[in-house]
């Protein structure tokens, strides 16, 4: 029952990071905000943007896979729905990016709700196959419904976001700050969800569905909730993607391959963790670039790495359980402290 201790060399690092959470995040945060002023190349900025984008996508899938334990092979579908909804609203109907993005996320969430409904009857592997089909159906719709999606030609001239008259682009750092903002808000949201009744409930369902049921948890309802939240985040990320791709999206941007990329971010980084999504994304984005000299061998190496990972660190690179005490709610801490005081007075 005990976890294998052998590979727990990370433990001191883990507790270090856990302990100095606040100063570390301020330091890292300040650095990240300053990045566009450090004179990085366009390519480097583009890479960074993609890392944060995939971290956000990873967090989206993580709500489903990491929290409630449902594998999805069709998240590129939600990604596409967010991107297309936002792109159509901004190009054809003149909406701003901001309202278009929220609409894109909401439409994705609605579709997520509908896709989550089969959880009433299906479970586990079968539902995974449904998600696989879902991704393909979305693609088919994008290709065939030409009057709305413009078919294989895709949507062109998607305007860049504007903030108080300032146009966000890659070169002025706008794209970068926008995804930094979006992914940070997502991370905070995932954190608060995880540390509330809903998050505990989702994880309980993943750990033991029958026991969760016997605690009075309406498991279906919570699985659908996970689908909705996951789709919302993924749709929002899609809306962002629609504006950073030189004003152009097409069905090929959302093929099965991308669902797998999102999945591997979560698995490599560490299911259920938020930090892992950044790491998994960085690894996924950097690997093909750093190992370009290996040519086609790099995919073999990447596959090999994944296999080794599954073997020796199935919880993912940064998938550790915090060794620190449970974080008590502020008021509970206060009440406990008062009790202690009362005891010592007696």
């Amino acid at each position: 029952m005990k976890e294998k201790k052998s590979l727990n060399l990370l433990a001191p690092f883990e507790s270090f990071v856990d302990k100095f959470k606040v100063p570390l995040s301020i330091l890292v945060g300040a650095f990240l905000i300053a990045v566009p002023f450090l004179g990085a190349s366009r390519v480097a900025m583009r890479n960074l943007v993609m890392i944060f984008l995939y971290a956000m996508l990873g967090m989206g899938l993580n709500v489903l896979l990491g929290y409630v334990g449902q594998v999805s092979l069709g998240h590129a579908g939600f990604y596409a729905i967010g991107a297309y909804t936002s792109a159509i609203l901004t190009t054809t109907y003149g909406w701003s990016f901001w309202t278009g993005a929220i609409a894109g996320a909401c439409v994705a969430a609605l579709i997520g709700f509908l896709l989550g409904l089969p959880t009433l009857r299906l479970s586990g592997t079968y539902l995974t196959i449904v998600t696989l089909g879902f991704g393909e159906i979305v693609l088919m719709v994008l290709r065939q419904w030409e009057s709305v999606t413009n078919g294989n030609y895709g949507i062109r001239s998607i305007p860049v976001p504007e903030l108080f008259g300032w146009e966000l682009t890659l070169s002025n750092g706008g794209f970068y700050w926008l995804i930094l903002f979006l992914s940070t808000v997502t991370a905070i949201a995932c954190y608060t969800i995880k540390n509330s009744n809903a998050g505990r409930t989702l994880i309980a369902i993943k750990e033991d569905e029958l026991a969760a049921t016997m605690m009075g948890i309406k498991t279906t309802r919570y699985k659908i909730l996970a689908f909705v939240v996951s789709a919302f985040i993924t749709g929002l990320a899609g809306a962002y993607y629609s504006v950073i791709n030189n004003g152009y999206i097409e069905p090929n941007n959302f093929v099965f391959n991308y669902s797998i990329q999102i999945l591997s971010v979560v698995i490599v980084g560490g299911m259920g963790t938020i930090r892992g999504m950044y790491f998994g994304s960085a690894l996924l984005m950097m690997f093909p670039q750093v190992f370009r000299f290996l040519n086609q061998w790099r995919f073999v190496i990447y596959g090999l790495l994944l296999v080794l990972m599954m073997q020796f660190r199935p919880q993912g690179a940064l998938g550790w359980q915090s060794t620190l005490p449970y974080k008590l709610p502020r008021r509970a801490k206060k009440a406990l402290a008062e009790r202690e005081k009362a005891k010592t007075v007696q």
Binding site: K2, S196, I217
Partner: protein
């Protein structure tokens, strides 16, 4: 009126009558034991009471209301909670988180309260956390709230399950072999705790193999054998009942 009343409940699995027209009742504030050899149908009765199985026939009433057509969730909500013979903890969650999951059904703040950390969330989350800590302290796990459930010794894991069941605000708690895997000292302490629960107003149905424990703690005992209720009465009566002795000696030996 009895708190719980089972009227000729039957559970058939294919050709097997696991529970055969069994009737019993439990009054408020009692500790009632359900005993019988391996495979007698005890756990099946728990699964019937808690809605895990849809009973084949019969009726179950709790506080005068029929519950045998209700979902497990509705039954928990009405005030029946249980532990499992084969531990079913949320292993990768901390002890306190396990117990907090038990408070889920009484939690009123919604998803957005949790997401945005509204005052409602702050207030209720603190209340529930304190409640979980209180329960854990009362069961002797006050110093282990931060441990991962799966890292605890067996006996402690059983206690976490009981704490989790209490956290649902149940009136009736069903304990399926809670002392299994405990050493004599632990099991003695558990007995004391179960008595304390009764004194606080909880009602308990206990499945237990250890006759010492059963005779010591039960107000009344029901005996199942091959799905049939073969005896019921006070511990003293059961100990001297020839049919019961026969069932235990004649059947497979207990663990």
């Amino acid at each position: 009126m009895a708190l719980l009343q089972a009227k000729e409940i039957t559970m058939q699995f294919g050709g097997l009558l696991a529970v055969d027209s069994v009737s019993f009742h439990v009054d408020k504030g009692e500790i009632v034991s359900l005993i019988g050899p391996n495979g007698a149908g005890k756990t099946t009765v728990f699964n019937m009471l808690t809605g895990v199985y849809e009973i084949t026939s019969g009726a179950i009433e709790f506080e005068g209301k029929e519950i045998h057509r209700k979902t497990p969730q509705e039954i928990v909500d009405m005030g029946i909670s249980r532990t499992f013979q084969n531990l079913r903890l949320f292993g990768k969650m901390r002890v306190i988180e396990n117990v907090l999951v038990g408070t889920h059904i009484r939690t009123k703040y919604n998803f957005f309260d949790g997401l945005l950390r509204t005052p409602r969330y702050q207030k209720e989350e603190a209340e529930k956390t304190l409640k979980a800590i209180d329960i854990l302290e009362s069961i002797g796990l006050g110093d282990k709230i931060n441990e991962l459930a799966s890292n605890l010794p067996y006996g402690d894991q059983r206690k976490v399950e009981i704490a989790r069941a209490i956290a649902t605000d149940a009136k009736l708690i069903l304990l399926d072999e809670p002392a299994a895997g405990m050493n004599p000292a632990e099991s003695e302490e558990l007995l004391r705790f179960i008595r304390e629960l009764r004194d606080k107003g909880y009602t308990i149905i206990l499945i237990e193999h250890d006759m010492g424990v059963v005779m010591n703690i039960s107000d009344r005992i029901y005996v199942l054998d091959h799905g049939k209720m073969i005896a019921n009465g006070l511990p003293r009566e059961i100990a001297n009942n020839p049919q019961v002795i026969e069932a235990y000696l004649g059947g497979k030996r207990e663990k």
